[in-house]
Amino acid sequence: MKNPFETPERAAFRDSVERFVKREIAPHGEDWDEAGDFPWELHEKAGALGLFGFGIDEAYGGLGFDDAFMRLESGIALAYGAPGGVNASLGARNIMTGPIAALASDAIKAEVLPGIVSGREGGALAMTEPSGGSDLSRLTASARRDGDTFILDGEKTFITGGMKARWFVVGARTGGEGFGGISLFLVEAGTPGFTRTALDRKMGWWSSDTASLHFDAVQVPAHRQLGEEGVCLLAIMNNFNYERLALAAGCLGMARRCFDDAVAWAKQRETFGKPLISHQVIRHKIADMSARIDALHAYLLHIAWTLNEGEIPAAELAKVKFTASQTAEYCASQAMQILGGAGYLRGQAVERIYREVKVMAIGGGSEEIMKDLAFRQMSL
């Protein structure tokens, strides 16, 4: 489909990200995922490419501008060629730099952002708890003021990038119930009382360093509180919108990969004396996948345009998030069906994506929460 929002810079950036993925990730991606890890050097290469700098001042190593289309393009290209776990580990920092850029003091920005944006260091956002994820208003980790410090206690889990990150943006309750009582803190790995455990037996995203975090009377200097109690959640909410865009873009990349691999196989594989792609039942699957992929892309382009206009289309971002995960799930399922037995074998993208689609329907706001949010935005 022709993209009405294309510019030479967006095309050039897409081209660079595609080359980066093809050269730096694709040759090793499936092996890294099997091994459950990948070299840190990749974070630095991605940082040099500019993948972590959107919306961050140049003074802190950022790009000095934002562009939802470029965020979209890079999300699509990465998910097309990189295992979800690699993609998630790289991108984890993108949901914690936003609150820092919006809320932190200049001194903290200068201390923290350059390392994270360049890819030399990792960062993670720690909100989800064993007792709840999408339902943030009930989070239970607590931070108690004691002179110039806060004493942080609680548990966080399913924290992407959590095992290797140096810096964490942690949500904890400083006041009463609900969103209004929540504050954000910047916590450094290695602080006494802060420990982490790897969640390494996962259905997918094997190469992602997902963690559970334990805070046992961790002392956090008061100046590392980001923003004010209650108010800081606005920054997080805004952040979630970009996270949804990124996850939906990832779903599109995954769907496209399933489509391309299925078509390539259907051309090559012969059944009943002719290539699979000559069978009407297969052609219909391909047409269905293609139509859903196009629709998702058009939806995302329109949302990217709206974001660039300075608006936050919260309802559309919620709707596109579940539209995207359903599209990825559909395409993964159809592609598996077309690949048949070959699709059931490990070590290739369609089998991996078939496992990964589930996390896309859960993480960053589950399909159910997204639908509920979208419904509430409709004012019906």
């Binding site: 022709k2 050039a12 950036f13 081209d15 660079s16 050269r23 500019g50 700098g53 790009l63 470029m70």
Partner: protein, 249 residues
């Protein structure tokens, strides 16, 4: 040292081209265009020389339609310093390109012209050689390694029998082969910086060069479809088939 790098806008190497129904050429409508891969290698080599302190300025030039500016921008985003676009919508042949480049060399006085050995659209493999002849400069084609020495370049060339090493005095024309280097992808900060780098737009008339084609394209057609092969059981059967069916022995 100043390096001049001519670059060409061609159909992207991933695109499967289709011949137009009237056989006048290939269909370029809605086809992705990119920098010729050999030109990219030439740009990369020039940038590496600059990074090693062997060159001070890299000037990129393209001859073609307005959109060739995007090809120049790609080179600027990789690290070249400025661009020249000689704008024309005409079909330009290697000789016309070489004549224009010779004029630009006169104006710019580079010590090295580094260009791709050929473009993947017409595969002429002629521009570099013609340019060297017009300028009366030494040439080293199909370079797989380039090293600067005092007042000269040591160039390793890929030839049919293996590798040949030449020493060419500067100024010189060097054309790049596939294995010279692996071109970088431009970072986003550099893509944005490239927007601010200057590109001069000229026309062939500015250089007084007649670019009208000397060649006529009679017909463009698809290569014949490859037929499936057969397996033979014995050497005798193979010889029999080669003799009586293929008629080659």
């Amino acid at each position: 040292m100043k390096i001049l790098v001519p670059v060409k806008r061609v159909v992207d190497y991933n695109v499967k081209v289709r011949v137009k129904p009237d056989q006048s050429g290939v269909d370029l409508a809605n086809v992705k265009m990119s920098m010729n891969p050999f030109c990219e290698i030439a740009v990369e080599e020039a940038i590496r020389m600059k990074e090693k302190g062997l060159a001070e300025e890299i000037v990129v030039i393209s001859i073609g339609p307005t959109q060739a500016q995007e090809t120049i921008r790609t080179a600027l985003a990789m690290g070249a310093d400025r661009g020249i676009l000689i704008q024309t919508d005409e079909r330009v042949e290697p000789l016309a390109v070489a004549k224009l480049l010779a004029k630009v060399v006169e104006e710019e006085s580079p010590e090295l012209v580094m260009l791709g050995k050929q473009a993947i659209d017409d595969d002429s493999n002629a521009t570099g050689q013609m340019l060297a002849a017009l300028l009366g400069w030494p040439q080293a084609t199909f370079a797989s390694a380039v090293e600067k020495e005092d007042g000269s370049l040591k160039v390793t060339r890929e030839i049919d029998g293996g590798l040949q090493t030449l020493s060419v005095s500067l100024p010189a024309v060097v054309t790049s082969d596939l294995r010279l280097n692996e071109p970088r992808y431009a970072s986003l900060p550099n893509i944005m910086k490239a927007k601010r780098k200057p590109i001069d737009t000229k026309s062939p008339d500015d250089y007084g060069v007649d670019i009208s084609p000397r060649l006529e394209v009679i017909k463009v057609s698809e290569p014949p479809k490859r037929k499936g092969g057969v397996k033979v059981e014995t050497v005798a059967e193979l010889v029999d088939k080669l003799k009586n069916e293929a008629g080659v022995i």
